[in-house]
């Protein structure tokens, strides 16, 4: 990947915020501005319903005064003095600063902008959405579909008192379909979505997923309470496993001792087939970037290699506290403070196809979607949920949809001791997660 020196064309607004903060006694200051314009085209009940234009702008200031960190944010670009005042007030009480803002430096060249996205006329977006709904209804005329075709352009700029300057643009295009098929008291929900920094004109893969879901759910099946082998599709991996897995990789949870992985850096915790990394330099993914929200250059960070824990994710402040290297995962939240968040998370695929994973199971489940998976003791790695969309496997084949079933497990234990196989292909789920299907040897299943 080519590296480039960013033209440090200082944004006068950011420069002014920093100058005012320094004049008022701050030792370090950092200003950040995000401007987003998005245009979702929204379909409801199989028809075009709404066109929206949304402009969201925010200005954030973080500063260090007398060794303490303060921050503030505002959507009023005109009231800089109030912004500085609020950040200084916060610093009076704020946490001790462990960070140094990064100086001017070289950033990797990460393509995140496609001018065809903002250039896409609304009527062409309507055509994409209408086509998607038409094809879905061809698969099942009784579906009632909601859908969206969405385009957005975002500009991100940052500057700090150490001379660091960054600015980049990002375009985002996404398409999604959500269908419900009601028969008596029974509701079947199907759907999928796609997103990219580039224009999507053919959402065929959404229809392939919906076709699979409708086919597998065309009959109903039952299962009794017990422990079974389970295949999570990529959608299932995203809905059940990734949340409780990733909180454990936050450098802050590790530093605070909350993460079950806290003392296990360098240890083999998971099955040797597990490889996981975060890579914000992948071209044209909606969370790719040249640097994070603190100006730390993007790079691929390996988290798990052959089951071995390699790294955690850090922002500047946490890295300072934990005496670790910042990894470029600072994410600006409400209020101008920075939290830790993955960018593009990738799990390596294995050898077996989804069908082959299923063929190896005598009796078990396939899970596409859980509801309620994010409740409970997520920090400990627990997940559990009602199977919103899942299927029964008998003698190596999907025989029908199962309902009124709850599954529960601990992601660290399952990936450590109960992995049957990692399948292929890995696919992007949502904007920034690329995962394969995964088969587990045993999962607790409660059925009525």
């Amino acid at each position: 990947m080519k590296a480039r020196k960013l033209a440090a064309s200082p944004d006068p607004l950011l420069e002014e915020v920093i100058q005012r903060a320094l004049q008022r006694g701050a030792q370090q200051a950092e200003a950040f501005r995000s401007q987003l314009e998005e245009t979702p085209v929204i379909f409801e009940a199989n028809r075009l319903k709404e066109v929206t234009t949304r402009q969201i702008a925010g200005l954030a200031l973080r500063l260090v005064a007398d060794g303490r960190l303060g921050a503030a944010s505002s959507s009023h670009f005109g009231q800089l003095e109030e912004l500085v005042e609020m950040a200084l007030e916060a610093a009076l009480f704020g946490p001790p600063s462990y960070l140094r803002f990064p100086p001017e430096q070289t950033y990797p060249n990460v393509p995140t902008y496609d001018e065809q996205v903002p250039a896409t006329p609304i009527d062409e977006m309507v055509v994409v959405g209408e086509g998607l709904i038409r094809e879905a209804l061809r698969l099942q005329p009784e579906l009632v579909c909601d859908a969206y075709v969405h385009r957005a352009v975002q500009k991100i700029e940052g500057a700090n008192s150490a001379g660091g300057r960054f600015s980049f643009q990002r375009s985002i295009f996404s398409v999604g379909l959500h269908g419900v098929w009601v028969r008596g008291n029974d509701m079947l929900f199907v759907g999928d979505s796609l997103s990219s920094c580039q224009r999507i004109s053919d959402p065929a893969s959404i229809l392939e997923e919906v076709t699979r879901q409708l086919t597998w759910a065309s009959k109903t099946a039952t299962i009794t309470t017990g422990t079974y082998p389970v295949v999570f599709t990529p959608l299932g991996v995203a809905s059940a496993l990734i949340g409780p897995l990733m909180v454990a990789f936050s450098g802050r949870a590790v530093y605070l001792g909350q993460s079950p992985l806290a003392s296990r850096l360098g240890e083999k915790v998971y099955d040797s087939h597990i490889y996981l990394w975060d890579d914000p330099t992948i071209p044209y993914r909606p969370r790719s970037r040249i640097c994070d929200d603190e100006g730390v250059p993007s790079r691929r960070v390996s988290l798990v290699e052959g089951g071995l824990i390699c790294s955690f994710l850090y922002d500047l402040q946490t890295a300072g506290m934990a005496k670790a290297e910042p990894t470029g995962h600072g994410h600006r939240g409400a209020g101008g403070y920075v939290d830790i968040s993955p960018s593009c998370l990738v799990m390596a695929e294995g050898e077996a196809s989804l069908e082959e994973l299923i063929a190896d199971i005598y009796e078990g489940l396939v899970i596409d979607q859980l509801i309620g998976a994010g409740q409970g003791n997520v920090m400990g790695g627990d997940f559990s949920g009602n199977v919103l969309l899942g299927y029964k496997i008998e003698k190596g084949k999907v025989v029908g949809r199962i309902k009124d079933v709850v599954v529960a497990g601990n992601v660290h234990q399952l990936l450590g001791h109960h992995l049957l196989a990692v399948g292929r292909p890995a696919r992007w789920v949502g904007s920034s997660l690329r995962v394969p299907p995964i088969a587990l040897t045993s999962l607790s299943v409660a059925a009525r």
Partner: protein
């Protein structure tokens, strides 16, 4: 800009457009946040935000535009109108309501705006000290926030409402860890405009920390179907998840099969079951005088004596279904159009005591407090923060937190006893359509469900 000039500008921007409905909403918010993780204060400070939106309806099609810089309002109106005219090809359905001009001051107890940031921080420091004073606690978190919102809603029919609200929330949690096993316990509290609800919590804070430590020794429940008794907090979450969302008309108004399923007059539960939603109950977190479409707050019976008698509407869903608007169109902020939401949702009290509910259960689960809940309309799941086995009519050994799941239609029918001790939980926030967390409250007395699927985590 002074009030009168702003008002003139808004009225001027709304004038003279050929659409079926047109409104402008402006939102000015000042907020305070204090966040601790572990032993550290991580965030403290204030935020300001200003934004607005324009919504237009033309021949059944909606145009919506939101912005931070109001600038020339008429320009935003023009864009929203253009979007609506692009979309609209049919017929608009939008229930008429009397135009209103009103100013609604905030509902206030002890005004959080008058408490200095130092005092708020000292109180939270004090709670943090209590958490860490409990032996065995290995981590802690505290998140306090308050916000003051001032919202102006004006429409082309002559409505001009300026409504203020102050929201206070506090979430405190502790966790305990042993050999890689982590357990946690937490407390969520909220109020409409009253700082005093977050004061004087020392004993509750100490107990939740002790609870987290004790959970390390508690067993998991054996997954399966049990009779369960829910405490008022969890029963309120159940009522919200299992039935509240299903009664939101925007899920069903465009789907003939779902409309059939939700026919008024259908029996959903036993005759002892009454479920209500309403923002007109004063002083709860889901309370207001007007919703975000200018419809006055009401009290709506959803289930009366087990029978479906009503549902929650926006002006559009009400018109499409030929029913009256209920004042349930709410938007979390200026970036979103209002959608059908709950306000204060509760199960009305019956006459049983907790002992009555427990007495004839040989083996069951008593589930209390909440981590969260979610629904897909037909299925729901919600998590208890605290649980105990019930053995021979008595609350017995503690369990690790459990998850209750089920099918709405079966589970409501399985409610067989309702307590006499209605209370409201004000600490929750509801999410729908990307709009989260919206202030709501849930209420219920203790309830018993004859058969419920209980999962172990």
């Amino acid at each position: 800009m002074d009030e009168d000039t702003l008002r003139q500008e808004i009225l001027e921007a709304l004038r003279g457009w050929d659409v079926d409905h047109l409104e402008i909403r402006l939102d000015n918010t000042a907020a305070t946040r204090i966040l601790y993780r572990g032993r550290q204060l991580e965030e403290i400070g204030r935020q300001r935000s200003f934004g607005g939106n324009v919504r237009a309806l033309y021949r059944g099609g909606w145009g919506f535009v939101s912005f931070n810089e109001a600038g020339d309002l008429r320009r935003w109106v023009e864009l929203a109108v253009a979007h609506a005219r692009f979309v609209g090809t049919g017929k608009s359905s939008f229930a008429e309501v009397e135009p209103v001009v009103d100013f609604v001051p905030p509902y206030l107890g002890k005004d959080p705006r008058l408490i200095p940031l130092t005092a708020k921080k000292e109180l939270m420091d004090h709670y943090l000290d209590i958490l860490w004073s409990v032996p065995g606690v290995t981590s802690a978190h505290i998140f306090y926030s308050d916000s003051h919102k001032r919202i102006i809603l004006a429409n082309a029919q002559g409505t001009y409402i300026c409504q203020e609200r102050i929201d206070v929330t506090l979430r405190i949690g502790a966790s305990a860890q042993r050999n890689g096993d982590i357990q946690q316990a937490s407390l969520s509290i909220g109020s409409l405009g009253d700082f005093s609800v977050v004061e004087g919590l020392d004993e509750q804070v100490r107990q939740l920390a002790q609870k987290a430590v004790q959970l390390l020794d508690a067993p998991y429940v054996k997954p399966g179907v049990y009779p369960v008794v829910l405490d008022p907090i969890l029963a309120g979450v159940f009522c919200h998840e299992a039935f509240g969302h299903l009664s939101e008309a925007d899920h069903i108004y465009e789907n003939p099969r779902l409309r059939e399923l939700m026919t008024i007059g259908r029996t959903f539960g036993p005759p002892i079951l009454n479920i209500v939603d309403g923002a007109s109950v004063p002083g709860l977190r889901g309370s207001f005088r007007y919703d975000d479409e200018g419809v006055p707050a009401q009290k709506t019976y959803l289930i009366r004596e087990g029978v479906l008698v009503g549902r929650l509407h926006s002006r559009e869903t009400a018109a499409k279904m030929g029913e009256r608007p209920t004042g349930n169109a709410r938007a979390i902020d200026y970036r979103f159009p209002p959608i059908v939401r709950m306000t204060n949702t509760y199960i009305e009290p019956g006459d049983a005591t907790l002992d009555d509910l427990l007495s004839d259960i040989k083996e069951g689960v008593y589930a209390c407090n909440w981590y969260g809940g979610t629904t897909s309309m037909e299925m729901f799941t919600f998590s208890a923060g605290e649980a105990y086995m019930i053995r021979n009519g008595r609350i017995a050994e503690p369990l690790r937190p459990v998850k209750l799941s089920g099918n709405v239609f079966e589970t409501l029918m399985n409610i067989d006893a309702i307590g006499d001790d209605l209370s409201f939980n004000q600490g929750g926030g509801c999410g729908k359509g990307g709009q989260m967390p919206l202030p709501v409250s849930n209420g219920s007395p203790h309830i018993r469900i004859r058969q419920c699927l209980v999962g172990e985590r």
